[in-house]
Every structure is written in C-alpha cells, then in structure tokens.
C-alpha cells in the first residue's frame, strides 16, 4: 500500500512538473468542448440557392420569397442563365439552382400544369437529399395555395384529413448541442486518459528509467496501479470540469438522471480505457509507435461509436465492431443518463459489458507486462 502511495506521488510530481503537458491536459479539452459543439452541427440549413427566373411573374416572385422566408435557404442571387448559375455551383457559391421557365404563371393557370427545374450540388449527399426534400416541400405548399385560390374551397371539405401531431421528448426544442456535448465529452475523456497513459509508460521504457523500477522490489501490480490511479484521477477531473463547468454553465445541460450512477460508470469505463492504454504501451517500444497505434485505434473507436452517425444505419459487420467498442457504451450511457434520466435498470447491460471490458483488458495488460526485458 505504501509503495503505491509513493508511486502515485512520483507520477503526480512528474505530471505537474511538465509545464508543457499540464495546460494541454486540462485547458485543451475545455477549449474543445467549447468550440466543437458549436462547429459540429449536422443540421442542414443556410443552403445557398441561385435563382434563374425566366418568367418574372407574380407567381415566380412569390415562390422565391416563400423559399427565402422558409429559413432553410438563403438567396445566393439571381442570374440570367443556367450556365451562369452552374458557374456559381462550381465555385461553391451556390448549392442549388432553381430555374423557373418562361411563361410559368401563364402555363400553370391556362394549361393546368408547369415544370420547375432544380439542380443540386450532390457532392455532399446528405445535404443534397435534405435540401431537395425541403425545396420540394416548399414548392408543393406553394402549389397547394395556388390550388386553393382557383378551386372552390367547399370541394375540399369532402376529403378525409389525417392530422398529425408531433411531440419531441427529452429535448423539446430539438437542440442539437444537447446531443453533441455529452458525446464529445466522452471522446475527450477517452482520448486524454488512454493516450497519456499509453505514452507515459513507454516514455519510461524509451529513456530507460523503467529498468530502474524493474530492479526494485516493486511488484508488477503495484507499478501498474501506480500508473493507473493518477490518470484515473485526471480523467475524473477533466470529466467533472467538462460536465459541470462547460456543460452546465455554457450549454445549460444539467443531467436529468443520477449523478452518482454517471460517476460509477465513468469509474469502470476509465479503468477499462486506461487498461487499453497500458496494453498499447506493453506492445510498443517507442513513444512514436505507441502514439500511432493509439491513434489508429482511437480513430476507429471514435468513428464507430455512434458519435457522428447512428449505429442503426451501419451494416451488420460494422455493428459488430461498434458493439465491441467501449466508447460506444460510454457515449450511450452518457446520453441516456444526462438527457433521458435513465436509471440503473435501463443501463445494466452497459454496466455488465464495460465491467467485462475492464477486467479483460487489464488482465491482458498485466499478463503482457514483463518486468524483464
């Protein structure tokens, strides 16, 4: 016990002495938590639309104003030909072209129908799909208004109408930041704790100080605990600052569920993650090596965690990867407790899985760490 105490003291002395590392450990995650949710906004809005209006009629003008007042689109200007608008798309000044043909109003009223032409820059498929859907919706609403004007309203009452009422639970204002902040916090805590832990042990290997520890009577388990506990504490501190200082004060997110439950999960999760860092360090000889291995896996963990894209839309093989990824569980639990107030019963499977991870990974790391080189 005394040995572990001294080892922890040594680690903290080393961490606090390193003036370059310390601010990076605490300040950088906070800055990121401030900036990332502002930037990580998937919502499709501000789609630039370039209008080619060959008609210049009352209808074409009111359609264009309906589009610009919808909130999804902003007008990137009028042009006189399609070619001119296409150049705007090529230079990324516009995302969508709307072409209104000559005689749009006249043909619509006289012939009972008319075509509109829409071209969308589809390099970003998601944005193009949604942008197209919004635009068609606005046009068909506009269409409906025109119809109402020309058809006597009495005929409309005879058709059945299903009224759809939508409610959005857990996040009534559909604030995207509520979704992103817990996820990003999870990733930051993961990155900081596993990276620094992996590098720390390899550093002792690389500069040779591990030899000195290996020749002392310090036990394997003591050495590992002495490395894990300081980073466990750092992880918890970073998480708390992120959750309370940034999450609550800046974004106004206060966990609905039990905070004790949240910390209980964090504790087990960090042990699992630090074990992973440890495992990497037992397999590498230089910091550069540890870093690139850690980066490789962190990238995989981050992309496959459901942080950015939903796990449900992955193919089967990818879902298996996502389900064997500890970060997935942490992000899910964080979102569930913070946003929905889920209780222990709801997340007991998550607890079970993460405990298995923690035991398995740490066991592997301890077995693989050898005092003799």
């Amino acid at each position: 016990m005394r040995t572990i105490k001294f080892l922890i003291q040594k680690e903290f002395l080393q961490i606090f002495r390193n003036k370059g590392l310390l601010p990076l450990l605490f300040v950088a995650p906070l800055i990121q938590l401030l900036v990332l949710p502002l930037a990580a906004d998937y919502e499709v809005k501000n789609i630039s639309i370039s209008v080619v209006d060959h008609d210049h009629s009352a209808y074409s003008r009111s359609l264009i104003s309906a589009i610009s007042s919808s909130g999804y689109f902003k007008n990137a200007g009028y042009s006189s030909s399609f070619i001119e608008s296409l150049a705007q798309i090529e230079s990324d000044k516009a995302d969508i072209i709307l072409e209104v043909p000559v005689g749009f109003e006249k043909n619509l009223v006289r012939d009972g129908g008319e075509k509109l032409f829409v071209a969308i820059n589809a390099i970003n498929g998601v944005k193009a799909g949604l942008g197209g859907a919004y635009l068609t919706k606005i046009i068909s609403q506009f269409n409906e208004e025109i119809r109402m004007k020309w058809i006597s309203p009495s005929r409309f009452n005879s058709t059945a109408v299903i009224e759809i009422v939508t409610s959005t639970w857990f996040n009534p204002y559909m604030n995207y930041k509520y979704f992103m902040v817990p996820g990003i916090l999870a990733v930051l805590v993961t990155l900081i704790s596993s990276y620094v832990c992996a590098l720390n042990i390899v550093k002792e290997k690389e500069i040779g100080t591990i030899e000195q520890i290996n020749v002392t009577p310090i036990k394997k388990i003591h050495f590992i605990l002495g490395k894990l506990i300081p980073f466990l504490i750092i992880g918890i501190v970073v998480f708390s600052i992120g959750l309370f200082a940034v999450g609550r004060l800046v974004y106004g997110i206060s966990p609905i569920g039990s905070i004790a439950l949240l910390y209980a999960f964090l504790f087990i999760y960090l042990i699992a993650l630090l074990g992973f860092g440890l495992l990497i360090s037992t397999y590498s000889d230089t910091q550069q090596q540890a870093m690139s291995i850690a980066f490789f896996f962190m990238m995989l963990f981050m992309l496959m965690s459901g942080l950015f894209t939903p796990i449900e839309s992955m193919p089967q093989w990818a879902r298996i990867i996502a389900q064997s990824n500890p970060v997935t569980y942490f992000i899910q639990v964080l979102r569930m407790i913070v946003l929905k107030g889920s209780n222990f019963n709801d997340i007991k499977i998550h607890f079970l899985v993460i405990t298995i991870f923690a035991i398995g990974i740490n066991g592997w790391a301890v077995v693989n760490y050898k005092k003799t080189t």
């Binding site: 990076l24 829409v118 910091q287 291995i293």
Partner: protein
Amino acid sequence: MKQFLAFIKKEFYHVFRDRKTLLMLFGLPVVQIVLFGFALSNEIKNTRIVVMDYAKDAASQRIIDRLESSTYFEIQENLLSASQLEASFKEGNIKLAIVIPADFNADLLHLNKAQIQIIADASDPNTANTLTTYATAIIMAYQAELNGLRHAPYQITTEVRMLYNPELKGAPNFVPGVMALVLMLIGVMMTAVSIVREKENGTMEILLVSPFRPFLVILSKAIPYLLISIINVIIILLLSVYLLDLPINGSIFLLFAESILLIITALSLGLLISTSTDSQQTAMLLSMMGMMLPTLLFTGFMFPIENMPIPLQIISNIVPAKWYYIIVKSIMIKGLGITMIWKETLILAGMTVILVAVSIRKFKIRLA
C-alpha cells in the same frame, strides 16, 4: 550531397525498421476509406419503433402495414400503456412511437378528420427529425390513397437533378477529407515527434555538433514522411477508384502537385511544433489538438462550415486543409482545371511559404 544522401538513408532505416508504426501509417487510410465508404452513413433504415394502436380498426391496420413495409421502420411490438412507452424510450429500445387513438376509422369516415400522434426521441434531434418526416410521409400517402388518386389541377411538377453525384453516395464528400486528414497526420504529427525524439534521447546534440549543416539534418528527417505521404495519396486514390467507384474527373497530375503542396505545408508545421517543444508527449498532444481536430472540423467534410458561428467560419480560413479540401473536390469530382482553383492554390501556397519561412527562422542550432 553525398552526406545528405547518407542522412536520408539513416532516416529511412529509422522509419522502416519500426514495422508497427509503418503498418499503422499505411493501415489508417485503408481503414478510414472502408469505414467511411461502407459503415458510416446518416441513412435511416430498420429503426425500431412502436405503434400504440388504440383503434384496432381497418384504417389503423392499413397504416401499420404501410409503416411495416417501408425499409425505414421495424415495428417492435404494440404497447398499450404510457408508462411502458416511457420505459422503452429510456432503455433506448425505440426511437419513435406512433399513437393511433380509439375510433380512428370512425372519425375518419364520419367527421372526415382524425388525429395521429408521433412521439420522437429527440435526444438525437437529427434522427428524430428525419424519422418524423418519413413517418409523416407514409401517413400522408395513406391519406392520398383514401381520397382516391384524382387528377389534381394546377400541378407544379419539380424536376430535380443531382449534379456530380446522382446516387447521393457519401464517397465524393469524404474521400478528399480523408486525404487531407491522412496527409496532415503523417506530415505534422510524425515529423514533429521524430525530431523531438532525437532531442529527448539526446542524439540531437550529436547531430548538431557534426560538420553536417543543421538544416539538412531536419530536411532529411522530413523526406521519408514526404514519400510515405505520397504513397498514401496513391493508396487512397486507388481505393477510391477501384473500391468505391469514384472516378478522378480532373487531371491526376494537378492533383498530385496540390497534394505535394499540402504535404510540404504539413511538414513545415511539424517542424514548427518540434522547435517549440522538448517532449514527445507535448509535441504529440500539440499536433493532435492543434492540427488533427481543426482539420477534422474545419475542412467541412464532416460538418458544414456555413452552419458554424461567424467567428469559427473566419478561423476556418487559416486551416490549410480546408483549402486543400476545396481543391481536391474541385479536381476529383467536379473535374475543374487550374483556372477555377488558382485562388485556393495561391492561398495554400502562401501559407506554405509563410510556414516554411517561420519554421526555418525558429529553428535553433543550439539546444537550451
């Protein structure tokens, strides 16, 4: 010159001896392309939903059938109590609930009006939004069927054409992004760390007191990573053409020239970071926080830049990868030539010149 070649040879030995790192460096782009290409999408399918059917009549059954036959939804079970519903949401089992009130069909037939409630789990607002839109569309289609497909007068038909990517695939958007990311990673992080490593191990001292010009020491460190970066560009392009069916529409030569420009920018950034730090850990965290995340964020391949607050949009302009991303997209997908992207190229080249100049000036031949 002979000395320089000998130094480059030494660096190549260093890099190629470290098999694990090398494997990761080449594995990273492959894994990223595969994941982005086949695993990650925002597409909605097989989402689990519940229907609370209090009506249990012909009309409600028709709606349930329609929901079930769509690829978007997978109906779990028919719950009947509100408390069960809340529990299901909290467990995260379902994302959407559709409530059909009692007497649905009767209301629809006699009053010509009936209500349906859609409840979405908005803790993920985007998915909630999309799911609601799809469910609404399905119910609306049923309503249209109910009213008979009469020919509507005054019909505006919208003809939509998707440019560049008619199937709305994800690849055209992320392949350039992955290229920017991988080049930045290797250029900045690997260079910075490998230089600082010599400092940390004390071998830098030896190199600097040798008669060899100090600047060439650094230059020879950068060359292996330049080569690895170029190989990675080739790997990514091959994968995107043969695995993702994403052809290169513009000039390959131009694409490589621009890539080399970005690699030089990244290498000089790595050099700059290495001059301002003494430990590998700091160098790594600096390049990660300072370079990786901004690259991921501000290139616009994961998140649209135009949605960001104005200050962030301004900041995004100083990220070299953003310009590179625009250039690659223009060449590869839009098939544009240098005449359309000379401005972006000039900005990127300007950044490169400034970074190279600053890092040379900051490079010290004495260790503190």
